[in-house]
Symmetry: C3
Subunit: 262 residues, 3 copies
Amino acid sequence: MSIVTLTTDFQRTDYYIGAVKGAIYTQCPDANIVDITHEVPQYNIARAAYLVKNAYTHFPKGSIHIVSVMSEATIEFAHLVVKFDGHYFVGSDTGLFSLIFGDEAPEEIIELNVSMDSNRLSFPTKDVFTKVAAHIVKGGTISVLGRKINSVTRLIGYQPFIDQDVLRGMVVHIDSFGNAITNISDIIFNNFVKNDPFTVYYRTTSSGIKKISYLYSEVPEGEPLAIFNSANLLEIALHKGSAAALLGIQINSHIRVVVNDR
Amino acid sequence: MSIVTLTTDFQRTDYYIGAVKGAIYTQCPDANIVDITHEVPQYNIARAAYLVKNAYTHFPKGSIHIVSVMSEATIEFAHLVVKFDGHYFVGSDTGLFSLIFGDEAPEEIIELNVSMDSNRLSFPTKDVFTKVAAHIVKGGTISVLGRKINSVTRLIGYQPFIDQDVLRGMVVHIDSFGNAITNISDIIFNNFVKNDPFTVYYRTTSSGIKKISYLYSEVPEGEPLAIFNSANLLEIALHKGSAAALLGIQINSHIRVVVNDR
Amino acid sequence: MSIVTLTTDFQRTDYYIGAVKGAIYTQCPDANIVDITHEVPQYNIARAAYLVKNAYTHFPKGSIHIVSVMSEATIEFAHLVVKFDGHYFVGSDTGLFSLIFGDEAPEEIIELNVSMDSNRLSFPTKDVFTKVAAHIVKGGTISVLGRKINSVTRLIGYQPFIDQDVLRGMVVHIDSFGNAITNISDIIFNNFVKNDPFTVYYRTTSSGIKKISYLYSEVPEGEPLAIFNSANLLEIALHKGSAAALLGIQINSHIRVVVNDR
């Protein structure tokens, strides 16, 4: 049973999710459809990419990931199927793919040329993407679905950088617990800090956090902590509280890491 | 694997969805349960019918669609299983079925006479509808589930009509993108307009929309457009915006189509 | 196909649900994952227990129920897998289990000793609980997953009690329809009331409800009623209305049952 995941901005109050699932099952009854989320904020490519990037790795190789945000095919934004890291990604080439893949090159990129049964062009997730998924589930190769191209549209995400001995990053996401997830990966952090004492500052005047926790419960309730999350990104959190609400951290808030003696 | 879809007003915060799914899997482990939505506004039959009507067609023939809105069996509202268009629909005869089927006659209508294991009558979706679904999944005929009747309770939906050379319809649904979906189908529209120039008015004083788009992106961002949606209904939308919020269109708003030279 | 249910406080806007499902399917592609809810209020063990307790009984014996609320392993709260009533429950020993099982003793309790692939300890639902579920789905015995212990942490729920010929209980849950569910079971109620005339008071000054309904529609629209719900708990409801909103009933509101002539 091949897995087809769905990441969309459809919300759950409409029939759109049902229509897409029905279309997939009609074409391949054996597919195993899994919702990542249908609550991507509308038109928010960066958020969709963040969610897919952190979810897909947990699925078996060969899984197919449909991403439906701004999925209408236009002259600027072609429909693509991309093979990357042994997985298949189907969506619109809005820059979404580059935010999922980062600097790594995909194994194969196909610009779709899939005929639609309908002259309604406004619902390509149902009319095009499900056909692509069904084709792959049935064992088809993606090269027959269109023409091969060499790269996806690049959208540059904010990257952390080192400026005068300060590692500067930012908050890219607040999760539903109020945890503030930064763009500072464990690799970047460790390369910078090495084994030296450090402080993570999350506000200009904060006293800072001087250690990395492995559990939220390492600190007293309501106290701030720094932890690497399951996506290996530095996260500012409160034990049993919302860092966002109580520390005033927001998306785009600056995060500084300073090595104490440098 | 037979598909059983669920359209309910249960919301997602309770155990009711879990109980219904558990009851289905206990009776037939091979069923493939698919959520259409659990966010039908409570007691809103028209909305449930709209969602089921537009979702079911995408599923394979033979699928079973449980609709749980006002599903308590009463003297007025019997429990039915209805075969229509090769699909099975299970629910309460509140008028819901007539709004799904429109003027077309179902293939078979059975008023259910299913014994319940419990003397709790308040959760028929779990105690009755899942039994009906399991019976069909296992290959049973519906005629043994009760007595055959000839028609469902009719609830007259608002229909568009022609009045003094104006095609008059209304907005029946605002989707989560703020798109305003009308009750004017492409067939009614084309029969009225033929090949003549036309204007779609969505407010008394609006300048109107003079073409049908095939893509939202055909017009500049923030501009209004008219498009037939995947359910073949005329929709007033904004490219990357909410027609409801920005044009002041609401459910029940009047929509007029005028052929310019008539 | 073994069933694995999920009851979490993850909400649906993040990638966490997707990551957990991916991890399960990667380890056992044949699992049948069913969402109970992902909308448990954060850190609310009592609510998670209420939902799991009332949902699990509808699933086939042998099903595995993952409960992820305050699931971080700490010195106080060990990770457990518990066999009870033929089902498996996986979660943190926060008192949650005792609220699910009540006074009945589980068949087997294992304190988990499962190695994690990651040094990130903050996402045990993905890194530990899915391994336990996969082990059971593949037919493994739970005794190999850790050491056997004799009891779970007990958390005493509010129990109804009899005080001077009044059966006193309270509202423990308001469902999404605004129905007020009490902690008074049908057994406790019937043992107290026997066959005598009674009145259920839901506010100090209310005139009270003098019968048990079997259907919401037994009373006129907007009128209050008392009914035993599908979990066999006394519920105060309004026919087509919200008892919570219109009668001013809240969680923890006192409910009194009086036998008229005693």
